[in-house]
Amino acid sequence: MASASIPVYNSSNNPLENSSSHNDPAVTLDVPLGAIGRVEKMGGASSRGENSYGLDITCKDMRNLRFALKQEGHSRRDIFDILFKYAFPLSHGLLLFAYLSQEKFEENGWSVYKPMEEFRRQGLPNDKWRVTFINANYELCDTYPTILVVPFKATEEDLRKVCTFRSRGRIPVLSWIHRENQAVICRCSQPLVGMSGKRNKDDERYLDLIREANGTAKLTIYDARPSVNAVANKATGGGYEGDDAYQNAELVFLDIHNIHVMRESLKKLKDIVYPNVEESHWLSSLESTHWLEHIKLVISGAIQVADKISGGNSVVVHCSDGWDRTAQLTSLAMLMLDSHYRTLRGFQVLLEKEWISFGHKFANRIGHGDKNHADQDRSPIFVQFIDCVWQMTKQFPTAFEFNERLLVTILDHLFSCRFGTFLFNCESARDTNELRSKTVSLWSLVNSDLSFYQNPFYTPESNRVLYPVASMRHLELWVTYYIRWNPRIRQQQQSPVEQRYIELLALRDEYLKKLEELQLSDSSPNSSHLSNSSTPNATSPTQHITHLHTPF
């Protein structure tokens, strides 16, 4: 298997026949095996009717493929077996493709994110916040990274005590600090309050240390869940921070639903856009999927976090385990607050940090190489996050250094298994599987061809907080991702605006050059200045056209 997309899909050289391709030129489909969610046989040897016998392939990237085969001689048996085996290597004791790939790139994407460097960029450690290596061997929390930032006043012993009171040991740690007002975003999992309403003095004191660090009067705890769910969690030992126990904190529920609701929502969305876009009452159908409504809730949650931080108040964000909704909220809020994360490399850091290192369970949520398509752990949480980012780029088309292509590429390789970036659930599992030495990072691909992912309209504005408008009036379906397989959606390589802009940039450069030449020939006394075919002077003097500002 030399490539992630094996050639069996090419109808010209394999027994599969694309149903309508008899006279048409051969249709070539390029589907990474990693994107396959489910392979099924349809019809039997006795099935009647055209195209009733064949294979049905459900993909994770919003499309279904159907291949009709000839019934004679069990033609599909071999292809089915091969496909089933290689699409789901982990279920067959095989390695994921990322471990087989021999790809080489100029850049090494694994060096994009260095936790210490990132904390230093934020101005950490300082007199209020310290770096701890307590989790160096994943002993405190096996789903956290090794390097954590905690309140300066909290001792290692404190951390261990708090650890017992937080679900899966995911204690509150710092994600981001505001340079001026020193307000922080901390993330964690739910407290283990339980039915009896247990309290933990250490946890209470620890949260108060977070509040104290910049003199915040009241620490705001954002519980991403709907309050009913938070209450219900008490039955299984979880819960939320009660008023009486955490006197200096206010608790806000953000009403974002769980992974199961999101999975069903996207499934419904797929139903109305694939293979055909629902025609009648499109908007009502769209509404009934609730997909954009969920997006709205996530974005407005993040806006509230960012707004609090801007106002100088520290916040703690959690959901149940702190690896799904929490990651969405912290990373979106950071994207709003910190322009660095809106650059091409900064965005990579954001993903590496908030999603990958803090243990969003990519392996379970995506089900890389796993045949169990109905696994209840699967959920498009990360897809939803990227959709939120896309909504932001739509609303602020000049604020992001990267373009839509980067977002689509990220989602494609979320499934493809071509790169190691999104494999495994947490850092400890990645270490065990020697991910960084044995696989290539997605950022190696991206950073070797940065210009492809650049937004020409990008205008850097540091210190600018972006507040998107979380109203349904402005949220739109990401047609170029979810409906990109529909032939009627015109796939434009470039938006007309982008195209025009690049054309004009080229024209300006050409005119500038011409003008330079002309002024050069004007200044030399004997040249006839009307010739515009004069060869450009290789060493042009530093000619400035003063009234023009050329930022590029």
Partner: protein
């Protein structure tokens, strides 16, 4: 502060005024002056009544500001003059010269509500009998919402201004009372030279020129120049060449096919007012058949007809749908806005407005298909022939003819199809509030602009005019100054303008048309009308209408068995049945049957046509078709959301990108001028990239200021650095009934593992 208010207004705040604005929040820096304030009145403008110490307040932003000032009603507008010194901070870029941001032209008033305590009541005119409301809420046709509190004014004044505004905005009036007449009598409005201007289609030359341009060969009728034939017919028009003199006047113009546009293949688009067919009366039937033959003779003996009354919504339905639609944007307060947010998509769907837009576009595409693919003549008809016929015929021309996508071309199109075409602008807008005309009110022209906006959204670089231009044009319909929108047809206009003339019989009153944009905007503001994405067609291949052989001509030699009469369907009636009688079998053998007319569903045929077009490379100077799929038909954000504070994207929106394009375009143009000064002839080998000489970079000039998505309608002044956080998130828990058990489940099965 409040006590000073009391003394000035002569009346303290009544306890019944349950204000959303607490007195502490009212920020009025100065004591209101006793002196009556007036806005700068326009020529011919007269103040009817006024009241001072009126509080204009908003609940749209978080600070809930109120401003005191005088409220006036003139013969042109309702005007609020703030007591605060005008904060001329930014030198508002996009200022309308006729009315300011606190002015509402009388014809722009849509609805007036009286606020009694916490109730809101629609005022329908007449005298308010019982109690005067303490608040007045005005919804405007350009979707602004004004809220005034009258409880600080003298009771007498409050009554007077309220009654005055209600009277002048809602009561029936005569056409002569519209501001245009007193304005024009008092303005020496310069006759602009017609060169390089909009083609007005008010002379026979204009019509001849347009027919020549499209290479049509029909008959130009100029016999009606003084409305001798019929006052219902336009002054000048074009009919198929086979139409005889006596045919012209038979049914007062009903049934007469009016030429709209000729396709380069020779076939043409005609429109007509349908004749109501009376049973047992064969005369109109015979006349119709004769007219159809005349149309068919225009090209290849082919004609398809379409009765738009049967297939598109009636004008009353259009009004009903729009009335529901506009309510989503006339927002009194923030809470109301966010409450409606969750059900936004289904509300939008249910009001049907987008669907009406889609239907009109689809109908236009069907006509385009007939002209472009089948090369048959098309005759569209409806009762009256000047509503949906205008919508569809103008859309067809926009899709097929790049000339109409230029700014002047578009204005000429509106002149041709709508103004000369006899769209009853006056009745449709019901500026006069005549009770017997209430039925005929309908935003048909707005519907057309909506469709244009959809096209422009999908194919931006094909249009020379901008979204802002369309929005401003849609607003201008409600500014009662322009002759363009004040009349029902040519003879109506002619009559009135002559009658109103202060001078001799020979020179009618000279009024501006809406196309005289300098009446409303200065040059800088007008620059925002051009689309920076547009580039002119490169000079080298100007042959827009290439000679082109329609494929189906080959089929002429097909055996006659191929030409079955298609079954009648609800769309495009092939007039084969009728023509069989008239033209005889021999000629019928030349009758073309398109493959699409056999397909059972129009939409599927349209879709195929669209898909075939889509596979070809996109030429912005060629045929343009809209995508009609669900996600492609959208809400005209700029027009509808511009005044709603909570949805303004500060520093974002498409304008952020367009301003960068404008910026660079400005630089390129400047460089070009410098190069021209050097006498350098530019080899414009960049296809279409050479920009128009005059597109200035107004937006660019303001690039230092952050624009919002409401640019240019709302300036940066009201900026709050607080994000809008949706309220009422809790109320809208949508999971009830849906996936309820899923919502209750844990993310990762079981409880936290550390629980023992």
């Amino acid at each position: 502060m409040l006590s000073s208010l009391g003394s000035a207004g002569g009346k303290s705040a009544k306890p019944s005024f349950v204000s959303y604005v607490t007195p502490e929040e009212i920020k009025s820096e100065k004591e209101p002056s006793r002196k009556e304030k007036h806005p700068d009145l326009l020529p011919g403008e007269v103040v009817f009544c006024s009241a001072s110490t009126v509080l204009k307040y908003t609940q749209d932003d978080l600070s809930q500001r109120g401003v005191f000032g005088a409220l006036l009603c003139t013969n042109f507008r309702v005007s609020f003059v703030s007591d605060e010194a005008p904060t001329e901070e930014t030198g508002q870029l996009f200022k309308n010269k006729l009315y300011g941001e606190n002015d509402i032209p009388l014809s722009c008033v849509d609805n007036i509500y009286g606020g009694y305590e916490d109730k809101k009541k629609l005022i329908t005119g007449g005298l308010v009998k019982n109690k005067y409301p303490s608040k007045m809420i005005i919804h405007c046709k350009d979707l602004r919402v004004f809220q005034f509190s009258l409880s600080f004014s003298k009771e007498e004044d409050a009554k007077k201004i309220f009654q005055g505004i209600v009277h002048h905005c809602l009561e029936p009036k005569s056409l002569r009372c519209l501001f245009a007449f007193s304005y024009c009598e008092n303005t020496s409005y310069p006759e602009v030279q017609r060169k390089k201007q909009t083609v007005m289609f008010d002379s026979v030359e204009d019509w001849i020129q347009d027919m020549k341009r499209t290479k049509g060969n029909c008959r130009v009728v100029s016999e009606n120049s003084n409305f001798e034939l019929s006052p219902k017919l336009p002054q000048f028009f074009i009919v198929p060449s086979n139409v005889s003199d006596e045919d012209l006047t038979k049914y007062q113009g009903k049934g007469l096919p009016m030429w709209c546009w000729s396709h380069h293949s020779g076939c043409a688009l005609f429109k007509t007012a349908s004749i109501p067919l009376v049973q047992e009366d064969n005369v109109p039937q015979t006349y119709m058949e004769k007219m159809l033959t005349a149309v068919a003779h225009n090209h290849l003996y082919s004609v398809k007809t379409e009765d738009l009354s049967d297939t598109l919504p009636a004008v009353q339905d259009i009004l009903l749908s729009y009335n529901k639609f506009k309510q989503f944007f006339l927002i009194d307060n923030t809470t109301e806005f966010w409450m409606s947010d969750m059900k936004w998509f289904s509300s939008l769907d249910n009001c049907g407005w987008l669907d009406i837009i889609r239907q009109c576009l689809q109908k236009a595409v069907e006509v385009v298909e007939c002209l472009e693919k089948e090369n048959t003549n098309v005759l569209i008809m409806e009762e009256g022939g000047s509503d949906l016929c205008c919508v569809v015929s103008s859309l067809v021309q926009l899709m097929l003819d790049p000339y109409y996508r230029t700014l002047l071309g578009f204005q000429s199109l509106v002149q041709k199809e709508w103004v000369a075409g006899g769209h009853a602008f006056l009745d449709r807008s019901n500026h006069l509030h005549l009770k017997d005309k209430a039925e005929s009110q309908s935003p048909v022209f707005l519907l057309f602009l909506e469709c244009v906006w959809q096209l422009q959204q999908q194919h931006g670089p094909a249009f020379q005019f901008s979204e802002t231009y369309l929005t401003v044009l849609s607003d201008s319909v409600h500014v009662p100054v322009f002759t363009t929108f004040l009349f029902n047809n040519d003879s109506h206009r002619d009559n009135i303008l002559r009658a109103e003339s202060p001078h001799t019989q020979r020179s009618p009153l000279n009024c501006p048309t809406v196309w005289d944009w300098s009446v409303q905007f200065d040059c800088k503001a007008q620059d925002l009308f051009t689309n920076p994405l547009y580039s002119e067609k490169p000079k080298q291949d100007t042959s827009v209408r290439k000679s082109y052989r329609p494929k189906h001509l080959r089929q002429l030699s097909l055996p006659s068995s191929a030409f079955k009469t298609p079954p009648k369907k609800g769309f495009f009636k092939d007039e084969a049945d009728n023509l069989k009688k008239i033209l005889g079998v021999k000629r019928l053998s030349r009758w073309m049957l398109s493959p699409s007319s056999e397909s059972p569903q129009t939409s599927s045929s349209v879709r195929e046509f669209y898909e075939a077009w889509q596979t070809k490379p996109l030429d912005y100077h060629g045929l343009l078709l809209p995508c009609l799929d669900g996600p492609s038909i959208r809400v005209w954000m700029q027009r509808y959301l511009r005044w709603i504070h909570d949805v303004q994207i500060l520093g974002g929106g498409p304008v952020a990108m367009l301003s960068k394009v404008s910026e660079i375009l400005g630089e390129v143009q400047e460089l070009q001028r410098q190069l021209d000064r050097h006498g350098c002839t530019l080899t414009s080998n960049h296809k279409g990239a050479r920009p128009r000489a005059k597109t200035a970079s107004v937006i660019a000039a303001r690039s230092s200021v952050r624009l919002s998505s409401s640019f240019p309608f709302v300036t940066s002044r009201n900026w709050l650095f607080k994000p809008a956080i949706p309220t009422s998130l809790l109320q809208s828990l949508m999971v009830t009934g849906m996936a309820g058990n899923l919502a209750d489940r844990e993310d990762d099965g079981g409880g936290p593992e550390s629980l023992v």
